[in-house]
Every structure is written in structure tokens, then in C-alpha cells.
């Protein structure tokens, strides 16, 4: 899933191409006789989604009208549908900052009273909360846990164990580097690593996030953000990322980890099932510890970005929609839908999925240190790609750390202005 983040920028232009737009020319319309579900075309084509849709219709509880919108224009089109009174009954959204455009309180039903809420994992609940303890969606989505995945075999060979604190992690990196071992695979051409470090900064301090989103605080003014950027710059200087990290991209990560060239990387578990190719080391040689990016001493895990099913409370079929969500949240149904899917469970009763051993082994630590994905979803104007570019410039000594931070903030403000965010 996070691979999408990496390649999103690369395909952004292609997605915005006239060809893609022309595909929207036949916009789906809500069907008054069916339950209308609106989502991104690619999301609605996920196997577990098609399975649950099919299962629902086969159950005879009703018919579904799947309103697939092209990914690139999803946010704009969806707002258009709601504005023109063509809103769906069920609306899928990743609960990022764009969701604020939909007038949450007056549009979507609060689902706290639904029976399935207790079956949600804590992280899933937190993700689907509107910030006021209201559950506003059913997280029917694959998930993953992001953190520092390390080669436990290699570390053991070198006489080391996983780190429990940032200080330990620094010592581990220094000791590994001193042994000539590249500690961290840092794919500088990718863009997700920093958000792991930023999550606890804003997830643990909602007021700071709100201040940032009101443009009252700058990214460059937040000490933890400064610490993180400085740590990354120092790590690169000390050789903790190896020699060729500036040229390292998505396709290089697997090779570096499976060969033992690098001992660790900041990634998510499902990546091992989708992109990792075993070499000298296999998936069994890896384990998970928190991501240490010098923002919090204990490190952090990032929970998955979940696609929520939300109910349009103004819809005539509101009850039917709520019933659909309950259908999906039934263990029998979600186990059938997620069977064989490599994912971290959002439901406590999910057993048919493939859950990585790495996550299972670190579950105790994850339960204490996991944060909801916050930076990429909640920071207005956040652009992972911009940060990656600026970091590369920092690595090349084009900017000082202070200049890099200042530009990060300027870019964020620029994007927020482009989005027409209030306060910018």
C-alpha cells in the first residue's frame, strides 16, 4: 500500500492526463433502487472489496451500485457529487485532511453505537475516530505496521540485539558502521520514511497539529522535527545509510536487505509479502522494532492507512447502509473477504488473513508504541515527495539543515494555499 505513496508522485501526471480525465466523462450516477457505494476505482477493485460486495448481493439483502471514480479526480468529483445532491449512501475515504471538506458533522453518521465497534482493534478505532471519540467509519481495509524491520540473524551474527531506545539505536548504528556493516537502507528516492518519525510528534500532541494546520506554527519551529532532520543528516554523514543511498529507490530495497548489505530499513510488513525477494536472508531472518528517527526516545510504529466506509446520514437508505456495514463487520464475512490477504487485522476476530510473524513477535511493543498514521493524512499541505527532494538536497549539502526545514515549511504552506486551506 505504501508503495503507492512512493510511486504516486511518479504517476501523478499520468493520472492527471487527459486520457484519465476522459474516462470520467461517463460519471456514475446513484441508483435509487440500489445501495450506492462510492469509492476510488482502484480501491473498489481490491479482492477483499469485490468479495464482500459479491457476498452481500448473494446474501439477498440488497443490490449494490458501485460508483467507481477515477483515483486522480476522486476528491474533487466526490465533493461535486455531494454538492449537487448526488451523494452516495456509502462513501469510502482514507480519512486524510481532505475529508474535512465534506462537513463531517452534517454529512456522515456517527457509528459509536454499532455492534461491531468493539470488534475493532485499538489502532483501527483510533484511525476511524473524528478526534472527538466518534467512530465515523468502518475500516474495511488491509493494513500494515510500519517500523524498523531489521535482520535479526545478521545482528546476532554481529553480537547485537534490537534496540529499545533511540540511544540504543544510535549505539547500534554506530557499532554496525564501525564493523563496516551498513546499518540502515535509506532509499533517498522514496518519500515515506520521515512520516514515521513525524507521526508521534503530531499524534501525541493534537493541539500542535491543529496549530500547524491553522498556519500558526511552522514545521521548522517544532523542535522534534528539527531533531529528526538533523538526525537524518547526521546519520547520512556518519555513513549509516551506506554510500549509494542517494541513488537508492524502491526497487533496490529488497536486494540490499536480502543480501545483508544493509541490516535495517524503515518499511511496513506487507512489503515483505509483495516486494521482498529472498536472497542470502529470507523473510524469516527479519524482525520488527520501532522506527527511531529521533523524535521520541522510545521509537514509534505507524499504523496502516485505512480506507473507511462511511454512511451518508442524509441518505434515504441510511439504515440499509448501516446494515451493509454490519454485514461487512461480521466475522464470518470479513474472514471470508480477507482470506489469504497479507494484512494486519483491523478486526479482533480476523483469523483468515496472513499476519506476518514479525508483527506478531513485536505485538507487545507495537501495542505500546504504535501511532495512527498522522503526518501524511492529517497535516494540511503535507507532501512526502517534496520532503524527499529537499532531503536529497540536504544530503548533497545544497542546503543547511535550517534552510531545508525552512523550505519544507514553505512548500507545505504553498501546497496548503493551492488546496485553498483556511488560514493559509
Amino acid at each position: 500500500m505504501k508503495k503507492q505513496l512512493c510511486i504516486a508522485a511518479a504517476f501523478l501526471f499520468a493520472a492527471l492526463s487527459p486520457l484519465s480525465l476522459s474516462a470520467c466523462s461517463t460519471d456514475p450516477l446513484p441508483d435509487p433502487d440500489k445501495l450506492n457505494i462510492m469509492g476510488k476505482r482502484s480501491d473498489l477493485q481490491k479482492p477483499y472489496m469485490t468479495r464482500i460486495f459479491q457476498r452481500y448481493e448473494e446474501s439477498g439483502q440488497g443490490e449494490l451500485n458501485i460508483m467507481a471514480i477515477e483515483d486522480a479526480v476522486y476528491e474533487a468529483k466526490a465533493q461535486d457529487y455531494f454538492r449537487k445532491g448526488k451523494a452516495p449512501d456509502i462513501f469510502l475515504h482514507f480519512h486524510n485532511a481532505d475529508l474535512n471538506s465534506f462537513d463531517l458533522g452534517n454529512t456522515f453518521a456517527v457509528l459509536n453505537g454499532e455492534s461491531w465497534v468493539d470488534d475493532l482493534t485499538d489502532s483501527a478505532k483510533a484511525y476511524c475516530s473524528d478526534g472527538n471519540a466518534n467512530i465515523i467509519g468502518l475500516p474495511f481495509w488491509e493494513s500494515s505496521v510500519s517500523g524498523c524491520y531489521y535482520n535479526k540473524t545478521l545482528l546476532k551474527e554481529k553480537g547485537f540485539e534490537a534496540s529499545a531506545t533511540q540511544e540504543d539505536f544510535n549505539g547500534l548504528c554506530a557499532a554496525l558502521a564501525d564493523l563496516g556493516q551498513v546499518p540502515i537502507c535509506w532509499p533517498a528516492q522514496c518519500s515515506w520514511m520521515m512520516q514515521f518519525g513525524l507521526d508521534p510528534v503530531f499524534a501525541d500532541d493534537p493541539e500542535l497539529l491543529a496549530s500547524l494546520n491553522r498556519n500558526e506554527t511552522g514545521l521548522d519551529e517544532i523542535p522534534a522535527v528539527k531533531n529528526m532532520v538533523q538526525w537524518i543528516a547526521d546519520a547520512a554523514e556518519k555513513g549509516w545509510f551506506g554510500e549509494d543511498y542517494l541513488d537508492t529507490g524502491w526497487d533496490d530495497i529488497s536486494g540490499k536487505l536480502s543480501s545483508g548489505e544493509a541490516a535495517m530499513t524503515f518499511i511496513w510488513d506487507s512489503w515483505f509479502y509483495t516486494d521482498f525477494k529472498a536472497g542470502k536472508y529470507s523473510i524469516d531472518d527479519f524482525a520488527l522494532m520501532p522506527a527511531f528517527l529521533n523524535t521520541v526516545p522510545e521509537g514509534t510504529y505507524e499504523g496502516g492507512n485505512l480506507n473507511m466506509m462511511m454512511v451518508n446520514k442524509n441518505s434515504a437508505k441510511c439504515d440499509e447502509a448501516l446494515a451493509f456495514l454490519s454485514f461487512c463487520a461480521t466475522p464470518e464475512n470479513y474472514n471470508a473477504a480477507f482470506e489469504g490477504i497479507a494484512t494486519v487485522s483491523c478486526f479482533k476476530g480476523l483469523t483468515s488473513n496472513i499476519q506476518s510473524k514479525m508483527v506478531t513477535e513485536a505485538q507487545a511493543s507495537i501495542s505500546r508504541k504504535e501511532r495512527v498514521s498522522t503526518a501524511s493524512t492529517k497535516i494540511v499541505g503535507y507532501s512526502a515527495d517534496d520532503l524527499a527532494v529537499l532531503l536529497s538536497d540536504l544530503f548533497r549539502h545544497k542546503y543547511s539543515t535550517a534552510e531545508c526545514l525552512r523550505k519544507m515549511n514553505e512548500n507545505r504552506i504553498m501546497h496548503a494555499q493551492e488546496q485553498g486551506a483556511a488560514g493559509f
Binding site: 545482528l155 546476532k156 551474527e157 554481529k158 553480537g159 547485537f160 540485539e161 534490537a162 534496540s163 529499545a164 531506545t165 540511544e167 540504543d168 539505536f169 544510535n170 549505539g171 547500534l172 554506530a174 557499532a175 558502521a177 564501525d178 564493523l179 563496516g180 556493516q181 507487545a364 511493543s365 505500546r368
Partner: protein, 1012 residues
């Protein structure tokens, strides 16, 4: 004398060899010294390291003892409640309070109550299970105290545990109690952060498992031996050696634990570690030292970079070295300073003397015009250069210093180069010299130098000392003497030539005069012979006279006594006068003589008209003279440059006559130059005319050029600048005279266009036609339209209908329009016919507006002047006239009397000016018609007499014409005559034609005035 290469090498080899030996000795001493120091440092470092970690070990074992003591104290306290069989819930608050109090004092993290299965409950009530691994085995059974590493909730702790009296806490039955510390807590308790953070201090078990480490971030270390092997491998140490080292440590530990080693001595080794390969010191000792058995199998191991260990010793050593070095340096510097001061003093004294000498030499050489240079013969490097080079030769000192060869650029003759071989050939203390002329590069001033090069040996170094001795004055003096000599020779030669020329040129006509006079005397009875001889005598006399005039004129010009008499003159008038003089000559040879203007040259100029006249007459008369009968002479005037104040005029005299050779053209302007060929020899000439012309042109600031080829004619071009004179008439003169339309008829269209262009400023509308018939048609048409022309200007000689015929036909239509004839020819022959045909006046070409105006003025009713009657020289003008002749020379007086008599005139003679004055004063009004006044006379000269006459009260005093008749013929003489009040000037010898013309003009003027 040149030294051999071997000697040269030896010269340098010995000191170099000495320095190398000294350097080697110093290096050897230093190596030995540092080797000794290093051994000592290593020995001291090892001792120091063991001492430090012995203390750490002691502190750590004391810390363990204290914790175990603490746990035993707790056990005793808890045993009290166990023994009392007090209910668990009653004892708990006391136990918790007790534990909390100990935690506060000791700083441990948690207190654990444990059962055999390693399940625990903390004093806070938390439950769980510890691993404690193998170390736990037998703790309760044997009552051993243990230390163990434990991870609880993802964080590492060090546990201290003892077997305890069985008891119950929070319903949990326990048989052992334990406390846990975080690594940071233990490190703080141990105070083991020696050697800053560069040392890694571990507590490890015999198998290498790390209990804890004080190293920052060391929580990740699992097994020290594994880490050590990897670290050795990273340092490039082979597997065999890796194994030896790890085995050595492991075996040492085993021996210690087996009691085979000295109590608590531990081990020490040095080895490179890590990627950097830096040497580390590894020291290890059993925890507890001599009592190691009491603390299990744990070892205190420290890994410290050798550099860090030796840092203190090295710094002390280096401090000592620095102190020593400083002392030696200070002493050395003091000695050097003293030596340098002495040397500097001596050097300063020498330099001061040298500076004085240099300064004195600079001043000396700066004030003379001699140049001094010191050169290196091999490299040509300039060692010294006197500072006056730039002043004398205009070349910068720096330039010469860079390359002595730059001096050669100042030499006038750059070919004077002394070959290097010649310089090399100068013997030691010998010299070579030559003379050379140099030129100042900025001013061009030339100087002569005697250049002497001395070959010197200065301090065994070969040098050239170059002395350039200024010989300019001497050279100039010699040159002047030579020039004076040459001038004297030249003058003498010129004088001889002049006399020779004069002798020849004067004797030739004189020979004819004398010869024909003799023949005349013998043939007095033969009228034919008399007439012939008289004519030849007159011709020779005229030639002799012109020769004398030219010689005198030339003499005056060359002596610089000629001055220009600048005045206002009219170019048209000048050209008209030239025409009057020259047209008859050209006509006599049937030559076509034409005067043209190109463009619109200005008419009124400021200049010396007389001299300009002389120049142009010389050129034109030569052209006529040296052009065959029927030839062509073109005289063109054009303006080549113009400004509001000045005008540069170009006069071109072109003929198709005999031309000149190139050789002669080169000396045509030299006096007495005449081409020698049969044609020229037959033409009389003095050979001075062109020389005079050239001198006059020069005097007027102009140029004269000649282009010629034998048989093809010659072209003389003269360019002269003149200031412009203010015009007489205002711009609207023509308009006021109601002259607005002019018809021009000339077969040459260029002339018509030229006239129109010249008339543009007048505002007169010029129409032109190119034939007589067209002129008639135009006139008729204009008349019919009631738009008559105001003036008609006709060319005389037009193809078909000529000017006279055209005028005749025009007069049939219009009667009162002035018709003028424009011609290059002498119109006297046709004047009567022309006037009969209705032509009012004649104008000579070229056309000028002022000439037209002057011609037209008498023809208009309000004109102040009447129509002028042509004045033609006539013999009758003299007849009956009475002249007062003032002449002191009786012979001249007699000749003049006879000549006047021949003209039918009479005269009264006066022997000087005073007599003339008296005669005039006594005469009645109108008695004398004119006074002919000699200038140089005794008693009263002609000028004084003229002034007196003009000043006397005689009725005719202001009006009677007085004409100078003198041998003073220069321009100044003429001007002086006019200034004295005379009206004309006639040069002696008397030319009766000139007399007649002058008399006619003056008498006519007077007659006109009387009529008015």
C-alpha cells in the same frame, strides 16, 4: 676561468651530505626517544588501565554487595512478618512502605517477589514471569545470590536476586526476592564512564553474554565475543588471529574462574578493532577481583582505544616536550636574534653606505645625460640601470630592466647590433665602444651616444658595465659646423649659379640690344633696317625688363620681405580682368581659352588680389605660351571647402600644350628652371615665373600641384583659402528692382543649370533654353501670356541662331527688356553689331550674380549709375593733354617728354617733388590734366609731394589724377603710392600702352565725376 663540473658537484655535495647526516642522526634520536616513550606509555597505560578498572571493579562488586545486602535486609524484614504469621494483607503496607523507602535510597527500578517458576509480583502489584535463564537454576535451592540481565516490557534491566525466606505478598507465595536496575542506573552507580564515552565497559559472563554495558546506546550488545570477532574482522584481522584473541580472553576467564590465575589479576591485550582499525586496549577482570567466586562468573571487560588510554601520558609527555622545546627554542631564538641583530647591524651599516653611494650615484647620473648599466653577460640580466633612461630615451626603466634588448628599439639605426661573439671577445678589464644615435620614444628628440662596454670581474662574477656617454652637443656642434660649411658651399654655389645664370640671361638680351644698337647706328639711313633693328632692340629690352622684374620679385620673396596686402575683392572682377589680359594673347595664337566655374564659388573674398592675379596670370600666360597655335586652355574655378567664414577655392589651369618631362616637373618650382628642348628654347622666359608662383602660393598658405606629360599638356592645380567678405547688396535687392524672371539661353545646359543654381539665393526665377530659337519662342510665349521676362541672357556663340541674331528677333517682340550677351570671347569686334541688334550689355564668362547685377544696374531707371560706356584704350586720349612730370633723372625726363610728344601731349617738368608742388600750386584750375610723379627724388620725394598736393588749397588738389611713375614696382610700392593719395602706378621703364590705358581710365573717371 671555468670550474670543472666535478668541483661544482663537490661544492654542493659536502654541505648536503652533512645536512643529511645531521638529519639522520636527529631522526634516529627521535625514533629511539619516541620508541622509549611509547614503551613507557604502553606500560604506564596498561598499568593505568588496570588500576582504573580495578577501581571500577571494586565499586561494582561493592555495589553488588550492597544490593545483595539490601535484599538480605529486606528478607530479614519480611521474615519478621512471615514468622509472626501475620495475615498477608496486614503485612503488605509495611512491606511496600519499606520497599518504597529502600527504592528511594538505592534508586532501583522495581522490587520483585519470585517463586521457583520465576513468576513474580512487584511491590506495586504487577505480575509476570522473568526468564533469568540458567543463572536462576539453583538460586533457591542453593541459596546463591545472582545477577542477571532481563528484558521486561521491551526494556532491559539488570536484576539482583537472592533466595528469601518463603513468604506471601499480595497473595503470592514467594521464595526469592529481587530488585532491578536500568542500565543507566547501574552505570551511574558504578561511575564507570572513564575515558569519556570512547571506552566500552561491559559486564559479561564467561560465554560473552552481556549483562550490561556502560557504553552509550550499548543496550543492543548481545554477546561480546561475537561482537569482538566481527570487530576484529572489520579491522582486517584474519580468522585465525580472531580466534586466538577470543580464545585467549575466554581461556583467561576460565583459568581465573578455575582459580588457576593470580587473584583478580585479569587479562590485558591490545588489538586493532573496528572498521577504522584503531588499536584498542582490552582489559578484563572477574567481578569482585580476588573474591570473584562470590559474584558468579561475571567479568568486567573494558575496551578502550589506545589513543584514549595514552592520551593523558601523551599530553604530559608532549607538555614536557613542549616545555623543553620552548626552552631550547627561546635560547635558540635568543642566540639567533643576537646573531641576526649583529648581522643586521653590519648589514645595515653596509647597506646604508651602499644606499648613500647608490643615492649619490643616482643623483649624479640623474643630473647628467650619460647612462650607466651593469649587465650579467650570461643571462643579460640588468643588475643596475641609471634612473635617467626614461628622461633621456623615453623608455621606462622597468622595461629596460626586464630586457636590455628593449634599448635597441631606441636606436635610430636598428641595424647597429653588436654580435654577442664580439662582446664575448672583450678581454677581462678590456672594453669596446661605438657611437650610435638614439631617439627619445616620446618626444622624438635625438641624441648621440658613445657606447662603451667594459668587461669587469666583480667579486669573481663577470659583469659588463655599459657607459653611454652623451655626445649630442658635440655631434650637434659638428653637424652645425657641417651644415654651415654645406650652406656656405651651397650659397657660394648658388651665388655662382645665380651669377652664371644672370650673366647669361642678362647678357643675352643685352647682347641683342648692344648688337642691334650698333647695327642701327650703321644703318641709320635705311628706314626698313632702322624699323627692324628698333623692333628687335625693343623686344630684347622688354625681355631684359621682365627678367629684372622677376629677379627682383624673387629676391624679395626669398628674403622674406614679401607681405600680403589683404583686402576685399570680387572674384568675378578678377576673372574679368584676367580675361581682358589673357584673351587677346590666346586669340593671337588662335587658342580656345575658356573660363568655367563649378558649383557656386563665393564672389566676394578677402585676400591679396594682386598676388592672386599674379599667380593666375603666371599660370595662364605659361599655358598660352607653351600651347601650340589652335590649342585649348581651360581655366576652372571651384569651391572645394566651405564654411560660414572661409572658402577654399581650387583653380585648375589645363592645357593641351607641349607638356613637361617628369624630371622637369620635379624642379619646375626651382628658380631658373626651364625645360631644355627645342620648343621651349624658342620661347622667351626667365625661368623664375613658376618659382615666384610657388612662393606666392606658399605665402598664401595654399598648395600648387602639377600633372603633365610631354606632348599631352599640363594641368596646374592651385588651392587657396580666403575669408568671405560681406556682400554689398541686401538679399531683396533683386526683388526691389522687380527682377523676378530671367531667361537664359546657352547651348551648354550645364551653364544654364549653374546660372539657375547661382541665382537661387536671389529669389529670381530662372528659365533656360538651349538654343536661340527656343529663346525667341519662350520670350514670345511669355509676352503673349503677359508674363514677360525681366532680363534675357544670351550666349553669343550658339549653334544655329547665335546670340546676336536671337536678340534681334526678340527685339521684334519686346522692346524694353534688357538683353545681355554672355561670352568667353572678346566681344569688341561685334559690339557695334550687337548693340544695333538690341543687346544692352555684355558679360564675360564665367557667370556670377554680382557681375550680372553690376551689368544690370545701369539699365534700370532707379539705378545710381548711368550705363557705362566702354572704355577702350585709344591713342587719342593723350592728345592735347598737359602733364606735370616730376622726374629728377634728366634722361628719363627727356624720354618721357619725347614719348608724350609722340602721343600729341605736352608736359611741364619738375626736377623734384617740391618743384612739382610749386608748379601745381601756381597753376590755374584745370591747367594740368594729370601729374606723373617719380617717387625717389631729391628734396621732396613723390609720396611727400603727392600728400602736399592733396593738402594744398588748389581747386584741382583733390581731383587731379596723380600717377606714380617709378622703378619701385613691388606691391608695397603700389600700396604706398595709393596710401600717399596717388591714383595709379606705372612701372619704369615706361610702357606707353600702360600709360595710355591708365591715363584713359583716370581721365574718363574724372570726366564722369565732372558730368555728375
Amino acid at each position: 676561468m671555468k670550474s670543472s663540473p666535478m668541483k661544482k658537484w663537490l661544492k654542493y655535495l659536502i654541505p648536503v651530505f652533512s645536512i643529511l647526516i645531521a638529519l639522520a642522526a636527529v631522526i634516529s634520536i627521535l625514533v629511539y626517544y619516541f620508541g622509549l616513550i611509547s614503551d613507557n606509555i604502553e606500560s604506564d597505560g596498561r598499568h593505568h588501565l588496570k588500576e582504573i578498572y580495578g577501581q571500577v571493579n571494586h565499586s561494582f562488586s561493592a555495589f553488588i554487595d550492597k544490593n545483595w545486602g539490601l535484599l538480605r535486609g529486606c528478607n530479614d524484614y519480611f521474615a519478621f512478618f512471615a514468622d509472626s504469621n501475620a495475615p498477608s494483607e496486614e503485612a503488605e503496607p509495611y512491606i511496600k512502605a519499606y520497599v518504597d523507602g529502600r527504592k528511594e535510597v538505592w534508586g532501583f527500578s522495581k522490587f520483585y517477589f519470585l517463586d521457583k517458576a520465576r513468576n513474580f509480583v512487584t511491590s506495586e502489584g504487577e505480575t509476570g514471569q522473568l526468564s533469568l535463564a540458567a543463572s536462576w537454576d539453583g538460586v533457591i535451592a542453593s541459596g546463591r545470590d545472582i545477577i542477571a540481565s532481563e528484558e521486561i516490557g521491551g526494556q532491559k534491566f539488570t536484576m539482583f536476586a537472592i533466595a528469601a525466606q518463603a513468604g506471601v505478598y499480595k497473595d503470592f507465595s514467594y521464595e526469592a526476592i529481587a530488585i532491578s536496575y536500568t542500565n543507566t542506573g547501574i552505570a551511574a552507580a558504578l561511575n564507570a564512564n572513564a575515558f569519556d564515552s570512547s571506552a566500552k565497559c561491559f559486564i559479561i559472563s564467561r560465554d560473552g553474554s552481556v549483562l550490561f554495558t556502560t557504553f552509550e546506546g550499548g543496550g543492543s550488545y548481545a554477546n561480546y565475543f561475537t561482537y569482538l570477532s566481527n570487530s576484529l574482522a572489520a579491522a582486517g584481522i584474519g580468522e585465525k588471529r580472531q580466534k586466538e584473541i577470543t580464545t585467549q580472553i575466554s581461556q583467561d576467564m576460565e583459568q581465573i574462574l578455575q582459580g588457576e590465575a593470580a587473584d583478580g589479576e585479569g587479562g590485558y591485550l591490545q588489538t586493532p578493532l573496528g572498521k577504522s582499525g584503531d588499536v584498542h586496549c582490552i582489559v578484563y577482570m572477574p567481578v569482585g577481583g580476588g573474591n570473584y567466586g562470590d559474584y558468579g562468573d561475571y567479568f568486567l571487560l573494558s575496551d578502550v582505544p589506545q589513543e584514549t588510554v595514552s592520551k593523558g601520558f601523551l599530553s604530559a609527555q608532549s607538555a614536557t616536550m613542549w616545555v623543553m622545546l620552548s626552552i631550547f627554542s627561546i635560547v635558540g631564538v635568543a642566540i639567533i636574534v643576537l646573531l641576526v641583530a649583529r648581522i643586521v647591524n653590519q648589514s645595515r651599516r653596509s647597506k646604508t653606505e651602499l644606499r648613500y653611494r647608490e643615492r649619490m650615484f643616482d643623483v649624479l647620473s640623474g643630473s647628467v645625460d650619460d647612462i650607466f648599466i651593469m649587465l650579467d653577460p650570461e643571462s643579460e640580466r640588468v643588475d643596475y640601470l641609471s634612473p635617467n633612461v626614461e628622461r633621456l630615451l623615453g623608455i621606462k626603466n622597468e622595461t629596460v630592466k626586464k630586457s636590455i634588448r628593449e634599448m635597441a628599439k631606441c636606436a635610430v639605426d636598428r641595424n647597429i647590433v653588436v654580435p654577442k661573439e664580439e662582446l664575448d671577445a672583450i678581454s677581462m678589464n678590456g672594453n669596446k665602444h661605438w657611437e650610435c644615435e638614439y631617439m627619445h620614444q616620446a618626444t622624438g628628440e635625438r641624441r648621440w651616444y658613445r657606447v662603451t662596454i667594459y668587461h669587469m670581474d666583480i667579486n669573481r662574477v663577470k659583469k659588463y658595465i655599459v657607459v653611454m656617454s652623451d655626445r649630442t652637443l658635440e655631434q650637434q656642434m659638428n653637424q652645425k659646423l657641417q651644415e654651415a660649411l654645406d650652406a656656405a658651399k651651397s650659397a657660394n654655389e648658388a651665388k655662382s649659379n645665380f651669377l652664371s645664370n644672370m650673366s647669361h640671361d642678362i647678357r643675352t638680351p643685352m647682347n641683342a640690344i648692344v648688337g642691334f644698337s650698333v647695327l642701327l647706328d650703321r644703318s641709320a639711313d635705311d628706314p626698313e633696317k632702322v624699323r627692324e633693328y628698333t623692333h628687335k632692340i625693343m623686344a630684347s629690352s622688354h625681355h631684359l625688363l621682365s627678367l629684372i622684374n622677376d629677379v627682383l620679385d624673387m629676391s624679395k620673396i626669398e628674403s622674406g620681405k614679401t607681405s600680403l596686402n589683404v583686402g576685399r575683392f570680387s572674384l568675378p572682377e578678377l576673372l574679368e580682368e584676367l580675361g581682358i589680359i589673357l584673351l587677346p594673347q590666346a586669340k593671337a595664337k588662335e587658342q580656345e581659352f575658356s573660363i568655367h566655374t563649378q558649383g557656386t564659388p563665393p564672389e566676394l573674398l578677402m585676400g591679396d588680389k594682386l598676388r592672386l592675379n599674379q599667380i593666375l596670370i603666371n599660370l595662364l600666360s605659361n599655358a598660352i605660351k607653351y600651347t601650340q597655335v589652335g590649342g585649348h586652355i581651360d581655366f576652372t574655378i571651384s569651391e572645394v571647402e566651405a564654411s560660414p567664414q572661409y572658402s577654399k577655392l581650387r583653380f585648375i589651369v589645363k592645357d593641351d600644350g607641349i607638356g613637361m618631362s617628369e624630371e622637369f616637373q620635379e624642379k619646375i618650382f626651382q628658380p631658373f628652371s626651364r625645360e631644355k628642348n627645342s620648343v621651349v628654347n624658342s620661347i622667351q622666359g626667365t625661368g623664375l615665373g613658376m618659382a615666384i608662383t610657388k612662393n606666392l602660393v606658399d605665402l598664401m598658405g595654399g598648395i600648387i600641384q602639377v600633372e603633365s606629360a610631354p606632348g599631352k599638356g599640363s594641368t596646374f592645380t592651385v588651392e587657396l583659402s580666403f575669408a568671405l567678405a560681406e556682400p554689398d547688396e541686401s538679399g531683396d535687392t533683386w526683388y526691389r528692382q522687380k527682377i523676378t524672371r530671367l531667361l537664359v539661353a546657352d547651348d551648354e545646359e550645364d551653364i544654364c543649370l549653374n546660372i539657375r543654381e547661382m541665382m537661387r539665393e536671389t529669389g529670381v526665377d530662372v528659365n533656360y533654353v538651349t538654343s536661340g530659337s527656343a529663346a525667341v519662342d519662350a520670350t514670345v510665349r511669355a509676352h503673349k501670356e503677359g508674363n514677360d521676362f525681366n532680363v534675357i541672357l544670351l550666349d553669343w556663340k550658339m549653334p544655329g541662331m547665335d546670340g546676336v541674331e536671337t536678340a534681334r528677333r526678340i527685339r521684334k517682340v519686346v522692346k524694353d527688356i534688357p538683353i545681355l550677351v554672355l561670352t568667353s570671347y572678346d566681344w569688341s569686334e561685334i559690339e557695334a553689331e550687337a548693340r544695333e541688334a538690341g543687346i544692352n550689355a555684355f558679360m564675360s564668362k564665367p557667370f556670377f550674380t554680382s557681375t550680372l547685377w553690376q551689368t544690370l544696374k545701369p539699365l534700370f531707371p532707379d539705378s545710381a549709375s548711368p550705363i557705362p560706356e566702354p572704355v577702350a584704350p585709344s591713342e587719342s586720349v593723350m592728345e592735347g593733354r598737359l602733364f606735370l612730370v616730376a622726374e629728377d633723372n634728366e634722361l628719363n625726363a627727356e624720354i618721357l617728354t619725347e614719348m608724350l610728344d609722340m602721343e600729341g601731349a605736352r608736359c611741364e617738368l619738375a626736377a623734384n617733388g617740391k618743384q612739382a608742388l610749386e608748379l601745381f600750386e601756381r597753376s590755374e584750375a584745370g591747367h594740368f590734366d594729370m601729374i606723373l610723379m617719380d617717387v625717389q627724388m631729391p628734396v621732396m620725394n613723390g609720396y611727400e609731394a603727392t600728400k602736399a598736393i592733396r593738402a594744398c588749397p588748389h581747386p584741382d588738389a583733390q581731383t587731379i589724377p596723380i600717377v606714380a611713375m617709378t622703378a619701385n614696382t613691388f606691391a608695397e610700392d603700389v600700396q604706398n603710392a595709393f596710401d600717399a593719395g596717388m591714383d595709379g602706378h606705372l612701372a619704369k621703364p615706361i610702357n606707353m600702352d600702360a600709360v595710355r590705358k591708365t591715363v584713359a581710365q583716370l581721365l574718363h573717371r574724372n570726366d564722369s565725376q565732372e558730368n555728375q
